[in-house]
């Protein structure tokens, strides 16, 4: 290998290790469904903080419980796990990721690829922009109001 | 004499999460005296409810007998 190649490979390996170390100690949202009472306070405050009013249809989290035909209790647990799949698939580079997802709204075209690929089905495209959880700058409001501690950030 | 005190509702914190304790009390002790000995100063507890001896509600000043079970409840509202 040439010197340039060695340097390049070394750089790439070190960067990977750094990212994996970061991912290992990085805080993410965690959800315990046995504690969830389906109150949706999470979506309410998420939207209140980001949109300036209580509007859960625009929240960046979607946790609900419902009765399936009255016979069993089901959970919809749409919350961002920082898997990064949206970031990896964004065709315009509007999405960036370190310890949280950030969306550059100038670059976002509302193409919807992120929402399609999101394994937790939590990304919404509203009025041509991607609504993605930003962990409230590392101090998620949803975790603060979750009454029974079903949501944690650790 | 020896009695058992059982706690209900938010009073459990006064026994550090335990729901019951057996304690020694003097003869002719009243429910409120027994609670005080166990560390429960009932007039100072805002949501203190009621007491029952052997599964029957009594007034706080009613007397206990040897081997009695004294239950203390916090208030609960709703229905």
């Amino acid at each position: 290998m040439s010197d340039a190649n060695v340097v390049f490979t070394l750089f790439f390996v070190l960067r990977q290790e750094h990212l994996e170390r970061m991912n290992g100690t990085m805080k993410r949202l965690k959800f315990s469904k046995e504690k969830c009472i389906g109150c949706q306070l999470c979506a309410q405050v998420c939207s209140a903080i980001h949109e300036g009013m209580y509007i859960p249809s625009k929240a960046r989290i979607g946790i609900e419980t419902y009765y399936d035909r009255g016979g069993s209790l089901k959970y919809k647990d749409s919350y961002c796990t920082l898997c990064g799949i949206c970031f990896k698939n964004c065709p315009t580079g509007a999405i960036s990721k370190d310890d949280r997802i950030k969306v550059d709204y100038e670059a976002c075209t509302g193409c919807g690829v992120c929402a399609d690929k999101c394994p937790k089905k939590v990304i919404k495209i509203i009025e041509g922009k991607a609504y993605i959880c930003d962990t409230c700058d590392g101090d998620p409001m949803c975790v603060k109001v979750c009454p029974q501690g079903a949501l944690r950030f650790e | 004499m020896v009695i058992t005190i059982k706690l209900r509702g938010s009073l459990i914190k006064y026994f550090n999460g335990q729901r019951e304790k057996t304690i020694e009390v003097p003869l002719d002790c009243s429910a409120e005296e027994a609670l005080k000995l166990a560390g429960i100063d009932w007039p100072k507890i805002e949501n203190f409810g009621f007491v029952a001896i052997n599964g029957k509600r009594v007034m706080i000043y009613d007397k206990l007998q040897d081997g009695d079970e004294l239950k203390a409840y916090s208030k609960i509202s709703g229905g």
Partner: protein
């Protein structure tokens, strides 16, 4: 004021028209929302003397300024109308998520007027309102109807429905939502059925604005942690209302065998410990912090519940200690769209009538298979159900047994024995919708209290007034009962945060009193007076045999004295009526 949508959806079912109009903000300033505001609207809009099952009656679904905000326990919906069971005003409070959906759809309230020409359901999605055909749903249980509608529209939608009991205009019919939540008392389901309305399907994607929302959200979160979630309230999450069973057993107010005695030595066979062994999950309403709902599965019996009322009426009060039968009775009542309290009380009265040989209704204490069968017959008004659907007041007027027909004004007794809690006999007598435990919850002050004697009339008028005032304003915000430590100061702070108008604790108390008064004014206009604030003679004539209240019965003079105390506190006359000067302030 913020918090409100300032928008009412008025539906004329006869003409199949939907219109919007501004909220009467001047009324909201006096009555706030939910309970108080819905009663005010009905007081102004209903002519006295109408038939509650006629198209002239109105059914109001009313939210409050806190609905849809992150104030904990603010997700209940008031459902109000003139009651076909009593002829009084009746407001109920239903849980689930429909209150939030209505508010997010952009409405403070939905007012239903007139009558559909054939069975239908109403579809509301933001400003899209359509009148749909319900031929396929009519006749079906509430659970199946809700499942069919959710299959069609999806889980984002909330369904408010009636069961067969509402369709047959049974005056014990309730309104359901989220399968297991009810607007239980007073026959509101029959009002909805009389309008040929099987269901309302609603979703909303709009929002609710409050001032300085980012700071407010933080302050409300603080209140949630420091007050709502303190240990005095979290018994709700731990066991729900099953916690009342032990307290009522020890307190001597758990009724047994149609209120003929109290305390049941078998109570540990069906108590919270036993029931919660079958717990599948916990559930709360929208914006709840406490999650009282216990979702149970016992074999093929599935139910969110049973609540204390339903446990008692199908348990010791029916001479039964089998927990599976209790849960099954709850599941069937919910599906049939029947109030567990009224239907249960009617069946256990029929049990006593049969046992005493006064009239054979074909059912005796402990016969739970029959009890469950009778729930279905009552809902469909078939066989013996056609008679039993009349309720204990009309039945006892026909056949005797009036002394132990436990009801006031035609609404059957909740499950607290008044001889063990004398103030409760007053609370039941003067409640605005007939015998109700949700207006003044007397046991909390007299029985679950260390030093207030339950077996005396002293001070009970003031005690019941204070409790009724507290609940009246609380249910006008609306905040759920289970936030038991909520006081006037906190309510004032929450109202100020949400609306941007300064509210004080004194304002809250004033609203509470005003709501009691306007409900009484409605009833007064319908012809109700002190002689209708009654107690069944069982309380006066028969002494309890067991429990701490053994030997207790309520002297009739003591009962009348408590009534006069209550009227005096409120400034009503000796006939329990508001003077002109007070009526003018409403």
């Amino acid at each position: 004021m913020l918090g409100y949508q300032n928008n009412i959806l008025r539906i004329n079912l006869t003409k199949k028209e939907a219109k919007t109009e501004p909220l009467r903000m001047d009324w909201a300033e006096k009555y706030i929302g939910s309970k108080g505001l819905s009663i005010k609207y009905l007081y102004e809009e209903l002519k006295p003397g109408i038939d509650p099952l006629s198209p002239e009656n109105k059914l109001i679904f009313m939210t409050g300024p806190l609905t849809g905000t992150s104030v904990p326990c603010s997700g209940k919906l008031a459902i109000a109308g003139k009651s076909p069971a009593t002829g009084t005003i009746c407001d109920c409070s239903i849980g689930g998520h429909s209150a939030l959906k209505i508010k997010y759809a952009g409405y403070d309230a939905v007012i239903l007027e007139g009558k559909l020409d054939k069975p239908g359901y109403l579809f509301i999605e933001n400003d899209k309102i359509t009148f749909e055909d319900a031929a396929e749903l009519w006749g079906k249980g509430s659970h199946e109807a809700e499942a069919m509608l959710i299959d069609k529209y999806g889980h984002d939608y909330s369904v408010i429905s009636i069961g067969p009991a509402g369709e047959t205009l049974c005056t014990m019919a309730c309104i359901n939502s989220d399968y297991y939540r009810q607007a239980g008392r007073g026959g509101m389901g029959a009002v909805m059925g009389s309008k040929n309305l099987k269901a309302v399907v609603v979703n909303g994607t709009g929002g609710v604005k409050i001032p300085n929302i980012k700071e407010a959200v933080k302050r409300i979160a603080e209140i949630e942690k420091e007050d709502t979630l303190q240990e005095d309230n979290t018994f709700v999450y731990d066991g729900g209302t099953t916690a009342f069973l032990e307290a009522c057993q020890d307190g001597g107010i758990l009724p047994k065998l149609n209120f003929s005695d109290t305390t049941d030595e078998d109570w540990t066979k069906y108590n919270g410990e036993v029931l919660l062994e079958s717990l599948e999950g916990k559930r709360g309403c929208g914006s709840c912090g406490l999650g009282c709902g216990n979702f149970l599965k016992m074999g093929d019996v599935v139910c969110e519940g049973p609540e204390y009322e339903s446990i008692s009426v199908a348990g010791p009060n029916a001479g039964n200690s089998d927990p599976v039968a209790i849960v099954k009775a709850n599941q069937v009542a919910d599906d049939m769209g029947l109030d567990t309290i009224s239907a249960g009380d009617t069946i256990i009265w029929a049990m006593e009538m049969t046992e005493k040989g006064i009239r054979d209704f074909g059912v005796r204490f402990g016969e739970m298979d029959k009890y469950i069968e009778y729930l279905k017959l009552i809902a469909r008004k078939e066989g013996i159900g056609a008679e039993l659907a009349l309720g204990v007041k009309k039945l006892s007027e026909k056949y005797g047994g009036e002394d132990f027909a436990m009801q006031v004004k035609g609404l059957e007794y909740p499950q607290y024995e008044p001889r063990g809690s004398w103030g409760m006999s007053l609370a039941y007598a003067v409640s605005d919708r007939g015998a109700c435990h949700m207006r003044a919850y007397a046991p909390n002050e007299e029985v679950f209290a260390a030093s207030i004697p339950p077996y005396t009339p002293e001070g009970k008028g003031e005690m019941v007034f204070n409790l009724a005032q507290w609940n009246a304003v609380k249910f006008s915000l609306c905040i759920c009962d289970f936030w038991g430590t909520l006081n006037m100061e906190l309510m004032a702070e929450l109202m100020t945060l949400a609306t941007g108008k300064e509210w004080t604790a004194a304002d809250m108390a004033e609203v509470g009193t005003r709501v009691i008064n306007i409900a009484r004014a409605f009833n007064q206009r319908e012809g109700f007076t002190a002689k209708d604030d009654t107690a069944p003679k069982r309380l006066f004539n028969e002494a309890l045999k067991n429990g701490p209240g053994a030997g207790q019965k309520i002297p009739e003079e003591a009962f009348e004295d408590m009534k006069q105390q209550y009227y005096k506190v409120l400034g009503w006359d000796e006939n329990g009526m508001l003077p002109e000067s007070l009526l003018a302030t409403l």
